[in-house]
Amino acid sequence: MTLVLQRKTVARSNQRTQKTLSGRQRFRRDRFLLLIGLPGILLLVLFHYVPLLGNVIAFKDYAPYLGITEAPWAGLDNFRVIVDGDPDFVNALVNTLVISFVQLVLVFPVPIALALLLNSLLSERLKRVAQSILYLPHFMSWVIVVAIFQHMLGNAGLYNTWARAHDLPLLTIIGNPDLFIPLITSQVIWKDAGWSTIIFLAAMSRVDTQLYESVAVDGGGRWRQLWHVTLPAIRPVIVLLLILRLGDVLSVGFEQIFLQQGPVGLDASEVLDTYVYNRGIVGGNWGVAAAVGLVKGLIGTILVLGANKVAHLFGERGVYSKW
């Protein structure tokens, strides 16, 4: 609680200083601080913004043998793949949004819960061991994860092969379009939930132990400690990650889904990225890829800015602050 109070004071005191100092004065005051960040910012501009200029091919009829400047302008032709209103595109968009929403609701909270669980363990050793185990799947490539799931749950997987040999009912999980979203969602949880606890655990590690004690002194139990100390301490990070995740809402695990489209068909599994891949990129249509990237970036920007605004309304800091 003290942490929260402190933050509010800081914000208020800064609003005050901002009003009293001119831009020039502030620049003079902050020049050393800015100097520290300058080399990094220059690197960032060089390696992220200079190549971004290449996105001009979104408006060109580009092919590698032509060169970016030489390629003819194509107006908005490359954007047609998006605005054509093709039923396949609409299907892909709907699938993407449904999967994104499901994963936001089901996947996002899992690492938080897991981190809280790990954090509440009394034995430090047990906590470390569990953590080390749970983060392992992150290092498996999707190819392997998909193969393992198929080996376990496939129609010729461990269970079904056994069931077939013993005349027991079969479970059609892989290759069942109705179960596709639950399947990929559980894969994501399996692969990354443990890994994603790391940021939350880092946030929890900074909680002032005095705060726990003061709750305990007030007669609060473990749930109150969780509710009044741990959660408030990691809330800014949760909000931050949630906002950043929103910026990515139109991308759902390209490789993971691409690998598993065959058995369930495109109606159930086509998402935006695979649609664009199947429509443009396989044919070397660089302009289309750039165009879709721009549109996704634009939508992502709007969502991030919007979510940040909403966060401010709820008194959260968000990604960037108002000042």
């Binding site: 520290i36 960032l44 749970l134 080996h151 000042w323």
Partner: protein, 293 residues
């Protein structure tokens, strides 16, 4: 280490039991497939055949797959390359990320919002492989290790996370340091970093994993096979499911399945060794009160 919730009664038995069950189930769900991966890497074709792909307990463990991978020294060399890239890359990355994050973490500083947007936008918009290649080529970095290190130094995600942690350091601590005559750099190294070890460890781990797993930049930017990182070399062993081992009559490669699993193990072990060293920073609660004095 004293547990963080000193002064509280231990949790009730049902709660503890539930936690235990959840944790055991979660760990088992991870460990069993990993055991299968490890065992399969040691199994022979016959057993893989009879089990249908994965093996839980190899009858007759053999290191044939590992011998095939390490034969000729290519993988050993690539491992050294990857370790160096990872160490240098994540070391520099921590410096760059922390310095940017720090310079944007003091409320109300000049130009903060536009600078933050510059950082944020790199998360939302990205360039294709060709413009990136052209830049590396113009910088004369083709076939140089720097082509693999420099572009990954400035992760916007990491900058934003570290900045969020820095923002949580109470202003009075910074003010106190300033009154003691510390300059900006000293505040960073003597106040901010000691209070943010956990997030620095997170950034280090994220970068290390990023550098360790990267292979695609090496495909584009590195021409000499001597300079290939491990993941790229390993990729040539499994590049195509339809390719089975040697193309020569009479040359029998280890079973493809065990080779693939051995590759997974080889690529996993070194990065797993890093974790325990970083992990201790997550565990220790920072006692802000003590610093406040």
């Amino acid at each position: 280490m004293v547990n963080l919730i000193s002064g509280t009664a231990p949790p009730s038995t049902p709660v503890r039991g539930l936690k235990g069950v959840v944790l055991i189930v979660a760990c088992a769900l991870v460990l069993v497939p990993f055991l299968a991966v490890l065992s399969t890497s040691l199994a022979d074709q016959q057993q893989i055949t009879s089990s249908g792909g994965y093996v839980l307990f190899p009858h007759d463990p053999s290191f044939a797959a590992y011998e095939a991978i390490f034969r000729g020294g290519v993988v050993t060399r690539a491992t050294i390359v990857s370790v160096l890239l990872t160490v240098v890359g994540s070391g520099l990355s921590i410096v760059v990320v922390v310095s940017i994050a720090y310079s944007l973490s003091r409320p109300g500083t000049w130009g903060q919002r536009p600078l933050l947007f510059i950082v944020l936008f790199t998360l939302l918009f990205s360039a294709g492989i060709i413009p990136n290649y052209l830049l590396i080529k113009e910088l004369g970095l083709i076939d140089s290790y720097w082509a693999l290190i420099l572009p990954g130094l400035t992760s916007a995600f990491q900058i934003i996370i570290v900045r969020a942690f820095f923002l949580d350091v109470p202003a009075e601590i910074i003010d106190a340091a300033r009154i003691d005559g510390a300059n900006e750099l000293q505040i960073l190294t003597r106040v901010m970093l000691p209070l943010s070890k956990a997030v620095v460890a997170v950034v280090g781990l994220f970068s290390a994993v990023g550098y360790w797993n990267a292979y695609f930049n090496a495909i584009l930017y590195i021409n000499s096979p001597e300079k290939w990182p491990l993941q790229l070399v390993l990729r040539t062993y499994v590049v195509d499911n339809t390719q089975v081992g040697g193309d020569l009559p009479g040359e029998v490669m280890p079973p493809q399945q065990s080779l693939q699993m051995a590759i997974l193990v080889v690529s996993l072990v070194p990065i797993c060794l890093v974790y325990p060293f970083l992990q201790k920073h997550f565990a220790k609660g920072v006692v802000l009160g003590a610093v406040k004095g």
